[in-house]
């Protein structure tokens, strides 16, 4: 078996555009999870890991930097995701090269669950009455079941990508759609041309004033 480390960055690149093409949110896994791109992304060319583009912003691709980097030959090396499963909101970063998950945090959707969140030790305790602290065993159980949930979703998405990558659909559909998406995205971000303020080029024909 050859070196397949490129599969991680290819998967994340595919996932970024898959989420984008589905309108910014996809559904995956059982129980069903809603997945959106988070606030950070790191891009690198597969052949030249010394070059890199890191973007940290709540509006990741407003400036078109992700598209520009992809257009210049980069793949997504790591990407933040927000994953909502039932009452849980998991924020995490998936790293393409080593398959690791980093900065994994879990919150709860509903206010009454917030107290559980503090108990679970997922976040700093909020101001207010002091809550009962969980035992180590309870903490391990809650936190590891959150990781199990996240890993199952990431693995199911990777499985979906892998089957497409091994078949014809990746080359025939996905790559074409990604290229089109990059081209259209970059075109949409070009500044509008104001014809009224446009200076005539020296190559354009100048009006000739003939003597009366």
């Amino acid at each position: 078996m050859g070196d397949l480390t490129f599969l991680g960055p290819e998967f994340l690149t595919w996932l970024y555009f898959y989420i984008d093409q589905e309108g910014g949110e996809i559904k995956a896994g059982k129980p069903e999870a809603r997945i959106t791109v988070g606030k950070s992304i790191l891009l690198k060319p597969l052949a030249n890991p010394d070059m890199r583009v890191a973007i940290l912003s709540p509006m990741l691709d407003d400036s078109g930097e992700v598209l520009q980097a992809i257009r210049a030959g980069a793949h997504v090396e790591s990407m933040a995701l927000d994953v909502v499963v039932g009452e849980h909101i998991h924020c995490l970063t998936v790293n393409g090269t080593d398959g690791s998950l980093s900065q994994v945090k879990t919150r709860y959707l509903f206010a009454e669950q917030e107290s559980k969140m503090d108990l679970a030790g997922f976040d700093e305790p909020s101001q207010g009455p002091k809550k009962k602290k969980l035992t180590d065993e309870e903490s391990v159980l809650i936190r590891m079941s959150a990781l199990d949930e996240i890993e199952a979703i990431v693995d199911s998405l990777f499985q979906k990508f892998l089957l497409r990558r091994l078949g014809q659909s990746f080359v025939q559909q996905d790559l074409t759609a990604i290229r089109l998406s990059v081209a259209e995205g970059l075109k949409a971000r070009l500044p509008p041309i104001d014809h009224a303020k446009r200076q005539p080029s020296h190559l354009e024909e100048q009006p000739v004033a003939y003597p009366a």
Binding site: G2, L4, F6, I70, G73, S100, F158, R165, L175
Partner: protein, 216 residues
């Protein structure tokens, strides 16, 4: 930050090998054998690594018992390593000071061996004043899934942890990257054949190469 508190960053490993039926007693003793031993101020070694209880990583006298590491079918413990590091400019200045004292006392220029002895003496002095740099990384081993989570991503620490784990438990660890997930995925024979011949796909060619090719 790891198993018990804070945000979590970790690598996934597949554990290759069979867990013995009496693993609780066996692992208790093997972990105790390779437990972390703190650096001694009078000794010369500059690093130390071993297992500690995840709940009390700095309680050096606390034995590692199953009450610490056993959580149902999961084992939670920590890998600790201490490194004695001396600030280089401080070491350089103190050695120079020693050598000046030697010159004043003997009137002779210190040769190689004297310089070496001066450095050793300064290191021994500093060792009593400076605390070692400690790193504690949580480990969660899920026996039911033969999987392990190591709550750090640093290349060096991962290598040292893997080596100690394999020595302690006589089992192999294999990092679960996306490449590994692909290899171990349930695929048809045709798909496995395709996977073997898989090459990276470029969405767009790397800009420099395009330019290089264009300019010959």
């Amino acid at each position: 930050m790891g198993v018990l508190h804070g945000s979590m960053s970790y690598l996934r490993f597949a554990v290759i090998g069979t867990v013995p039926s009496n693993y609780v007693e066996q692992y208790e003793s093997t972990m105790e054998m390779r437990r972390f031993i703190p650096l001694h101020p009078e000794a010369e070694d500059i690093d130390s690594a071993g297992w500690v209880p995840a709940q009390k990583p700095f309680a050096d006298d606390e034995p590692i018992t199953n009450a610490h590491f056993l959580f149902g079918e999961r084992m939670v413990f920590a890998f600790r390593e201490d490194v004695m590091s001396y600030p280089k400019p401080m070491l350089r200045d103190l050695v120079a000071q020693r050598l000046d004292q030697y010159r004043e006392k003997t009137g002779a220029e210190p040769h190689g061996e004297i310089r070496h002895k001066a450095e050793l003496a300064v290191r021994a002095e500093l060792r009593r004043k400076i605390l070692p740099r400690s790193k504690v990384v949580d480990v969660l081993w899920d026996h039911s899934r033969a999987e392990l989570r190591f709550f750090s991503r640093g290349k060096g620490v991962v290598e040292r942890f893997t080596k100690l784990f394999e020595q302690t438990f006589s089992m192999q660890l294999r990092e679960k990257t996306f490449a590994d997930l692909a290899i171990s995925a349930e695929l048809s024979l045709r798909e496995k054949g395709m996977l073997e011949g898989l090459r990276p796909h470029e969405i767009f060619a790397l800009k420099q190469r395009v330019e290089a090719e264009a300019y010959g």
